[in-house]
């Protein structure tokens, strides 16, 4: 586990950046998460997560062209790095492994009682 440390929110952000491939910047990531996961995301929380992910080397950022729309402010686009890709895959693998180890009985039992 020690190799790729990812918080739950960080994982979602990382995945979303992947999904939005090439179009991932603050607002689009925020809206996308809000829409798909039906949860509120504050600019502050998102920004902290992005910053941490960049420090861990899972993301890189690049300044986009400025438009008149955002008060002349440029967008900062994020893309996955190879390490970021590995981290997502690792996280997914761990989850699948864990899921597969659940005894069938536990899942069945749930059905019975339900």
């Amino acid at each position: 586990m020690g190799k790729y440390q990812l918080g739950e929110f960080e994982e979602i952000v990382l995945l979303t950046v992947g999904v939005l491939y090439g179009e991932a910047y603050g607002v689009s990531i925020k809206l996308s998460i809000e829409e798909k996961l039906n949860r509120k995301v504050s600019v502050g929380a998102l920004q902290s997560a992005l910053k941490r992910l960049e420090e861990k080397g899972y993301l890189t950022s690049k300044e986009g062209e400025s438009t008149s729309e955002r008060g002349g402010r440029p967008k900062l686009y994020f893309t996955l790095t190879p390490a970021g890709k590995d981290a997502i895959e690792y996280a997914r693998e761990v989850r699948n492994q864990l899921y597969n180890q659940i005894p069938k009985v536990a899942l069945d039992l749930k059905l019975v009682t339900a």
Partner: protein, 880 residues
């Protein structure tokens, strides 16, 4: 896209720019603006702005906040934390000294708060009225020997508030500036009855229907605009409403007054506690006009208080200038009658006019209270300074180490200031708690409601906080300078054992404390001496064991007054019995009275009027200077005779009372001869000298009270028996009786209250001073522990040790006395000037105060000195 007009809050943007890491600021701001744009289109600009603010607030987190340049700020924070930690450790380590300081300052702060709320209440009188600034009242002068100046304006002290009825309408007709006029009469007591509930109700006046146009009383039920427009209507205060009607709606209900008149309740009101007059109920003036229409045209009949409002920007001075013209345009028939105007703002605290409609405040008392509050705080601050500097040795090492490590003097000063701030804030918390606990007690003590709400406004809280900061600064700044001054090298070498520094200042501060304490003790002693003197003063009449039965203007009792008197007089405990309109201490009217002078000219004056029957003067043991008192042997007395007091005789120009006997008089439609002069007696409080008084022979219809001189071994039983007799004579009226003494002394209630408040706060101030003294004693005895041990081993007795330890303070005490006694004498002399009859301040008072202070301080010190002197010398001399 078109540029939308919606803008996010500029200030918030700037705030964001200020704290945001400049590396990412541009992008984040872009994101925020984009979201704002989208939100304002979807949810509206208002909502979008709130979301924007909320987002920015949540961006205020590590990772986004920029690193503030340099290391200064971070260091400040660290040092701050350290200062707090060291302060707390110090406070906890020296529990005794911290407790002394915190208690002293806490008591000081609580006293200040209590006095502040009291003073604020005094200053807030009548300010609840929206037209406060343009409300005035009429002051009157009814013919007296005062020379009226050419401009017709007399000083307020020569005028009285109580006046006649017709002036109100005349004023409104003549002055276009006057908007509204409102009159009310003196309060009377009525027997009110509703649905079997029957009580004698004090404080009921007649009033004009215009009250609501001038005074903003709290209105609870009914319509104020029409409440008093009809005859036989009454508006009642909330407490009266609750008493008679409980949960019922009183509006439209009919109350029976004095068993004969029906009054319809048309309103329920509440006059705020900070009003300079108050009624339990107000009956419409139309009712009164119906009873006695003539007095509403009489310029000489005095029973009304008149208030009026003027338009905006009216200069009252120009109105005053027109008073002579105004009066000459009325049908006024009174000689030497003139008026003045007084602003409502002066009515409670600053009015010098006589015959006020309610109790008035005293400006001097306010200053005295404020000074006492300041004294308590000052004494507490001195405690703090003395204890901190005295114990500076204990901190010397800490200071030296800090300096060695590189602390500058400035930061050391700052550290000690933080420490005093922590302590004062702790004290403030305790002070507020003490205030909270004692506030209801203060209300009982001053017999006033002191609402807390004004204290709890944001502005006042902010002021309070800054005052606490200031207090911490004042108390801490000197110790901070002293403590930060130590030379590190000296201290660490160990050559620095004892500080003579500041010992003179410390001594001077102790002298100040002593002096303040002595002033306060002298003050307390003088106040109580004076109050005692007032109570025991020979008033010129005897009202001991005098029972006064009050039957109001009850016609049923008046009708058979002679029978009632005879029946009650037969009881074995009743020595004598008299009927009158007023008894000493009660309210009484003034009346236009004329007596012919030596040349046969009529002299008009307006003395007080007592209406008395033939038994009044003997029953009260009053002395006739000359002539005789009323007697049933002279049937003509009831129509043709008059008795005056010495002051009245003098006012009519007769220095020798003998000469006025047999002179002609006129008063209230009665003419005849003066038959006697009674020796001056103090029928009002001893704040004033004896004023002229006419003792008019009463008819049964002008009496309201019976005075019974009792002689009994068992007053409870006598009272029950008298009540039983009363109930057979007048079953419809409750037996309302009180001892005349109690009634008379009620005039001194304000003085007594002042005395109580003053002595309690003086006591607190002295208590705080004792705390400080105790602290210093602890310190000095600890310092001399070894010396005491050595002396003891060499054979010193306990007494000599205690004397040695107390000697220093006694010297300071003597110096303090030299300063304090003249100051105390001066202040108390000023205070005594408010009394027409006052004590001479004897040297005994000062001696008692001085000895008292000395004894208190020796006792305080003895808690420590005795135990120090008793301690086993082995303990202090052993050195391992």
């Amino acid at each position: 896209m078109s540029h939308s007009s919606a803008q996010p809050p500029k200030l918030v943007l700037r705030f964001f720019k200020w704290f945001c890491d400049p590396g990412i600021h541009r992008y984040l701001e872009g994101d925020l603006l984009e979201l704002f744009e989208a939100n304002s289109q979807q949810k509206g600009v208002k909502k979008a702005q709130w979301v924007f603010v909320w987002e920015v607030i949540r961006l205020f987190r590590p990772g986004i906040i920029k690193n503030f340049e340099g290391t200064q700020k971070l260091n400040y924070y660290g040092m701050f934390k350290n200062y707090f930690k060291v302060s707390m450790r110090n406070i906890l380590r020296n529990k005794t000294f911290s407790a002394l300081n915190v208690t002293g300052l806490g008591v000081g702060i609580a006293s200040c708060l209590l006095i502040m709320i009291y003073v604020h209440n005094e200053l807030s009188y009548d300010t609840y009225n929206a037209k406060y600034d343009r409300t005035f009242r009429i002051l009157h002068n009814f013919g007296s020997d005062v020379e009226i100046p050419a401009d017709g304006l007399l000083p307020a002290s020569e005028l009285q508030v109580w006046g006649n009825a017709p002036i109100a309408q005349a004023l409104k007709d003549y002055f276009p500036e006057v908007e509204h006029v409102f009159r009310f009469t003196t309060s009377n007591s009525f027997l009110l009855e509703y649905n079997g509930r029957r009580f004698q109700e004090e404080g009921i006046a007649f009033g004009d229907s215009t009250f609501y146009q001038i005074f903003d009383w709290k209105w609870i039920a009914g319509n104020p605009a029409v409440a008093l427009t009809r005859p036989n209507t009454i508006i009642i205060s909330q407490s009266v409403a609750e008493k008679y009607f409980g949960d019922e709606n009183p509006i439209g209900k009919v109350m029976l007054a004095d068993s004969q008149e029906d009054y319809e309740v048309t309103g329920v009101y509440e006059i705020p506690p900070n009003s300079h007059f108050d009624f339990n109920a107000l009956v419409s003036m139309k009712t009164f006009i119906g009873y006695r229409p003539i007095i509403f045209e009489s310029w000489g009949y005095v029973d009304f208080y008149t208030y009026f409002t003027v338009g905006d920007n009216v200069d009252i001075k120009t109105m005053e200038a027109r008073i002579p013209d105004f009066l000459s345009n009325t049908d006024n028939d009174q000689e030497a009658y003139t008026i003045g105007f007084e602003p409502l703002a002066d009515a409670y605290l600053y009015s010098e006019a006589r015959r006020q409609p309610g109790p008035t405040g005293n400006e001097d008392n306010i200053y005295i209270f404020i000074s006492v509050a300041a004294f308590v705080l000052l004494i507490a601050c001195i405690n703090f300074m003395n204890l901190s500097t005295a114990r500076s040795m204990e901190r010397a090492k800490e200071v030296a180490i800090r300096k060695t490590i590189g602390s500058g003097r400035g930061s050391l000063i700052f550290q000690f200031l933080v420490e005093s701030q922590v302590l004062t804030f702790l004290s403030a918390v305790i002070g507020v708690l003490l205030f909270w606990i004692s506030h209801p007690q203060l209300e009982i003590l001053v017999d006033k409601r002191l609402p807390l709400d004004w204290l709890l406004t944001a502005g006042n809280l902010a002021i309070g906080m800054s005052l606490v900061l200031l207090l911490g600064l004042v108390a801490g700044v000197y110790p901070a300078f002293v403590l930060s001054k130590f030379k590190a090298v000296k201290v660490l070498k160990g050559a620095f054992k004892n500080s003579k520094d500041g010992i003179w200042l410390r001594r001077s501060l102790v002298i100040v404390q002593y002096a303040l304490s002595i002033v306060l003790i002298v003050g307390t002693a003088v106040v109580f001496d004076q109050l005692q003197y007032l109570r025991q003063f020979d008033k010129g009449f005897d009202n001991e064991q005098m029972l006064v039965i009050d039957y109001g203007w009850d016609g049923k009792v008046q009708r058979k007054l002679e029978a009632v008197k005879a029946e009650l007089g037969q009881h074995s405990a009743v020595e004598s019995i008299a009927a009158s309109r007023a008894t000493p201490g009660d309210f009484f009217p003034n009346g236009g009275t004329a007596v012919k002078d030596k040349n046969g000219e009529w002299i008009w004056t307006s003395p007080g009027v007592y209406e008395i029957d033939e038994d009044f003067i003997p029953t009260y043991g009053m002395e006739m200077v000359t002539g005789r008192h009323y007697s049933s042997d002279h049937p003509g007395d009831s129509a043709y005779s008059m008795i005056l007091n010495e002051a009245a005789a003098r006012e009519f120009g007769y220095t020798n009372p003998l000469d006025i006997i047999g002179k002609d008089f006129m008063q209230w439609g009665r003419e005849g001869k003066v038959i006697g002069v009674v020796k001056d007696f103090n029928y009002v409080s001893l704040h004033q000298g004896v004023e002229p008084l006419a003792l008019r022979y009463s008819t049964r219809w002008s009496t309201t009270k019976l005075s019974l001189r009792l002689k009994s071994d068992n007053y409870t039983q006598t009272l029950t028996e008298l009540e039983n007799i009363w109930m057979t004579l007048a079953p419809h009226r409750p037996f309302i009786a009180q001892f005349s003494n109690d009634n008379f002394n009620r005039q001194y209630e304000t003085d007594a209250r002042f005395g109580n408040v003053f002595s309690i706060f003086s006591g607190l101030a002295i208590f705080v001073a004792c705390l400080g003294l105790f602290g210093l004693t602890i310190y000095s005895t600890t310092q001399r522990q070894k010396e005491i041990g050595v002396r003891k081993v060499l054979g010193a007795s306990m007494q000599s040790l205690v004397t040695m330890l107390s000697k220093d303070f006694i010297k300071l005490f003597l110096i303090a006395m030299v300063f304090a006694l003249p100051v105390a004498w001066y202040f108390m002399n000023t205070w005594l000037e408010g009394f027409a009859y006052r004590i001479d301040m004897s040297w005994q008072v000062f001696a008692i105060a001085a000895v008292g202070t000395l004894v208190i301080s020796l006792l305080t010190m003895s808690f420590k000195t005795v135990s120090a002197a008793l301690a086993n010398p082995v303990e202090s001399l052993r050195d391992e």
